[in-house]
């Protein structure tokens, strides 16, 4: 099972949008042939507990662990995750940190 951990700032992204993001992650995993399913852990950073550059954070941090893949495919997946966030949440690209890394 592919694993994905997403840190979101509390109150920033409404639940229906979170549901869309989850569906989008499932779609990406399937589309790129990474696996049959994905276990997504949503970790909500409580209000006032996230900081970026020493200021209140509006960043989402997404970490997808995958089987070994080539770098060009990794870049496509990273772009797909960033697009998923900016298309659905209203976040700017600078508010999205995506990681696609091999499972340990």
């Amino acid at each position: 099972m592919i694993r994905c951990v997403c840190f979101l700032q509390e109150g920033q992204i409404p639940q229906p949008v979170v549901d869309k993001l989850g569906a989008g992650i499932h779609h990406i995993v399937t589309e790129y042939g990474l696996g049959n399913g994905v276990d997504i852990n949503w970790i909500i950073v409580p209000k006032g507990q996230g900081w970026t550059a020493g200021k209140p954070s509006t960043s989402s941090v997404i970490t997808l662990t995958t089987p070994p893949i080539e770098q060009p495919q990794r870049i496509e997946i990273l772009n797909a995750l960033c697009d998923l966030w900016t298309d659905n949440t209203g976040c700017q690209l600078n508010e999205v940190v995506a990681t696609v890394m091999p499972a340990a």
Binding site: I43, V97, A104
Partner: protein, 144 residues
């Protein structure tokens, strides 16, 4: 990236201290690595607050002391890592007025090429200035 997670026992850090800690962690990271502050994320949690955190941490959360976990780009020297860990533990202990032994810290190396921030793959350590300049130009063009 870097992402620093600070996990502490419930109700042991006042909100103003969290701001001071986030600033201190950012300052230490930027002074030691010369990376720009825009890269530095600091998220606070209380032990037991989120079960999924343990999966992310790869270790049980500390129920007593304060734990800092830093996901940093790989390629840092051991000397740099020691400076990061030593500097951050010291600052956090000072702010919280606790002993150094009550602040533990782990770092985990993440390849820069695995991470996209602001729509660009992260630069390798030492290449931040050129990356940031190019990235800012790209963002200005996108918003023009």
């Amino acid at each position: 990236m870097p992402l620093y997670l600070c996990v502490s026992p419930k109700s042991t850090i006042a909100q103003p201290d969290k701001q001071r800690i986030s600033e201190a962690i950012t300052d230490v990271h930027c002074q030691v690595t010369k990376a720009p502050p825009e890269f530095v994320h600091v998220f606070f949690f209380e032990a037991g607050q989120v079960q999924a955190l343990e999966n992310f941490l790869g270790a049980p959360m500390n129920e007593e002391g304060h734990l800092l976990l830093g996901n940093i780009r790989s390629g840092r020297t051991e000397e740099t890592k020691l400076a990061l860990v030593g500097g951050m533990r010291q600052k956090v202990a000072e702010i919280l007025a606790v002993g150094l032994s009550e602040v533990q810290m782990l770092t985990r190396d993440i390849e820069a090429k695995w991470v996209m921030e602001g729509g660009d793959l992260l630069p390798e350590p030492g290449e931040e200035a050129a990356w940031l300049e190019k990235h800012k130009q790209k963002m200005e063009t996108a918003t023009a």
